[in-house]
């Protein structure tokens, strides 16, 4: 098929979808999500579908593409990006716009490569002494942890502008990417991070992370008390470069969920993405909407299912819902835009991928033909929803020029019990993520816990 033919098909598809949208909305405040790529509009596979997305001052464009300049690596795919404007607190002129910040519902807080905001001279966040917790007074630094790898750097105060929303003077983390950090990472932080402090656009595949997950702070009460006994220390206070001690950090100084600091649309987000065809797309453009039920453009349709996560910190499945596929139950399940695939255990799916060998420890799935499955997502409140998903051969996907894949899957190992609905889940959907503790519409119940809805 020639490129022009594909383009014509894409245009026809978009035009048709647009017509439907205009008919449904009376030409109101919506826009189209969109796709590009050789697989788009291919009649041989399940096609991509553009969907209508809200516009307005509480919305902004988001995109899955080949990432920030500086190199794209095999295995890096399905990363959702947004642009943010960051300013010195209170300033309208000392500002920078940073592109390719990963939009992540699996973490909380804004984290930026320090070099991206070097010109702003952002004021550091300083924690007061807390003798009971053994915290010295001094600049606050954070050792933020992923399952593998971590981020080290100071906290600073900044204004965030995104869409037409503002979060003023919020604590953010500056990921120290300087060659000689003013505060070298403590040994414990390096160990916690599996000797991999991610401090570059190439290691992060992003210039930063905008964490808009379900919690108001990246830590909470344990960090307020400085009680890190269950794992690695998150916050440090460093009176001098050579003397960092674990820090009790009041919640007001912890890295905050920026959404909670907006004036109005502060109780959650909606991520709207087009459906991506089996063969993938070289880019996928959607919309990030702030607020749930706060404006005419972010109401929850009656057809949407609201699934509360387990809100009991002592539960083995804290902050999770349940996914069931056939007779297999995954009690530790969650929806996460920061996971780049669907990660679950299914021993019947082949993992003998070339792209897994040597490098990708997580092991992609490589079935000989595309697999189509149906899952049931459920919560403890008795709500459930059915979801169809596909797993394609990762080798085949990675050998294409595409970077947005609806059917990329990886194993978690035998009987892991977790099911991560990563970015593939978001394609073709509007996914609502509420924030715990914020005012919510009648759909959510803070006493139970925060919720996903789709």
């Amino acid at each position: 098929m020639s490129t022009t033919c594909i383009e014509r098909r894409v245009r026809r598809c978009v035009a048709a979808a647009l017509a439907i949208v205009l008919a449904a909305c009376g030409g109101g405040s919506t826009t189209e999500t969109s796709l590009t790529g050789p697989g788009v509009g291919n009649g041989g596979s399940t096609g991509g579908v553009s969907v209508s997305a809200p516009t307005g001052p509480n919305t902004t464009q988001i995109v899955v593409d080949s990432g920030p300049s500086g190199g794209f690596s095999l295995g890096a795919a399905n990363i959702l990006y947004v642009s943010v404007q960051v300013c010195s607190p209170g300033s309208a002129s000392r500002c920078v716009t940073i592109d390719h910040v990963a939009l992540d519902t699996g973490s909380v807080g804004l984290r930026l490569l320090k070099s991206t905001v070097a010109s702003l001279g952002l004021p550091p966040v300083t924690v007061p002494a807390n003798p009971a917790a053994g915290t010295p007074a001094g600049p606050a630094l954070e050792c933020y942890q992923f399952v593998l790898g971590g981020l080290w750097g100071p906290l600073a105060s900044a204004d965030l502008h995104i869409a037409e929303e503002t979060a003023a003077s919020i604590p953010v983390q500056l990921i120290d990417d300087s060659t000689a950090p003013a505060y070298p990472a403590p040994t414990e932080c390096v160990t916690a991070s599996n000797n991999m402090l991610m401090a570059s656009a190439s290691s992060l595949q992003a210039n930063g992370i905008l964490g808009v997950g379900m919690l108001p702070y990246d830590c909470g009460l344990e960090c307020s008390n400085g009680s890190y006994a269950s794992g690695y220390t998150l916050y440090y206070a460093c009176p001098t470069a050579a003397s960092c001690g674990l820090a009790a950090v009041p919640s007001t100084l912890q890295v905050a969920n920026p959404v909670t600091k907006f004036a109005v649309d502060n109780n959650g987000t909606i991520i709207v993405m087009p459906a991506v065809p089996d063969l993938g797309a070289t880019s996928a453009t959607g919309r990030l909407v702030f607020g749930i039920g706060t404006q005419s453009n972010n109401q929850i349709p009656s057809t949407v299912r609201v699934l509360h996560v387990d809100g009991n910190p002592a539960s083995l499945n804290y902050l999770s819902i349940t996914t069931t596929v056939g007779s297999t139950v995954y009690p530790g399940s969650y929806i996460d835009s920061g996971s780049n695939a669907i990660f679950f255990d299914d021993a019947t799916i082949a993992t003998k991928c070339q792209s897994s060998s040597g490098t990708a420890g997580s092991g992609w799935y490589c079935p000989p033909a595309i697999l189509r499955r149906t899952a049931t997502l459920s919560d403890t409140q008795g709500t459930s929803a059915t979801v169809d998903f596909s797993i394609a051969n990762a080798d085949g996907l990675f050998s294409s020029p595409s970077v947005a894949f609806s059917d990329l899957g990886g194993t978690t190992g035998q009987a892991a019990g977790t099911f991560a609905w990563g970015l593939p889940f978001f394609y073709g959907r509007s996914v609502f993520t509420s924030i715990w503790g914020q005012w919510l519409s009648p759909f959510g119940n803070n006493n139970i816990g925060p919720w996903f809805a789709f």
């Binding site: 593998l148 379900m214 269950s230 002592a314 902050l319 530790g332 190992g413 892991a416």
Partner: protein, 159 residues
Amino acid sequence: MNRCRLLTPPRCLLGLAFVLCAPVAHAVLGAAEVTVQDDQARLHGMRRQALAVHALVTTHEITMSDGSSIREFVGPSGVVFAVAWSTRFKPNLQALLGQHAVSYNAAAADALRVPGIKRSVVLQRGDLVVHSAGHLTAFVGKAYLASQIPEGVRVDDLH
């Protein structure tokens, strides 16, 4: 040895194991059952014997004030053959895996050659298998020694 004679044989062995293992800090996976108490001390946790997942398995559960918990599974040989966790902070697997942390570190370094955020991984190196996942403030996972799983015990039961 006088005290040993006063104890029943299994308790004698436990005491002996404690003496032998005492200088080893936080060695757990692959080590003797008594090392569970090292973890309890390190984690400032409460320890109890949890419901058995299998007749051949003793499960020690350490719970912490923030809701986190770690379970350590001991087989008939008296060796901790698996650990599982559900924690608010990323757990210290260097301590939990003991001598097997070397294998974990090597496998982690391999996995980290692929850039980007890591939230769900399975690491295998030699006899060691580690499942690890985490989002927000919820880290969950398990690690086990494949050759040490008692006959009849399923990996599915260890959580």
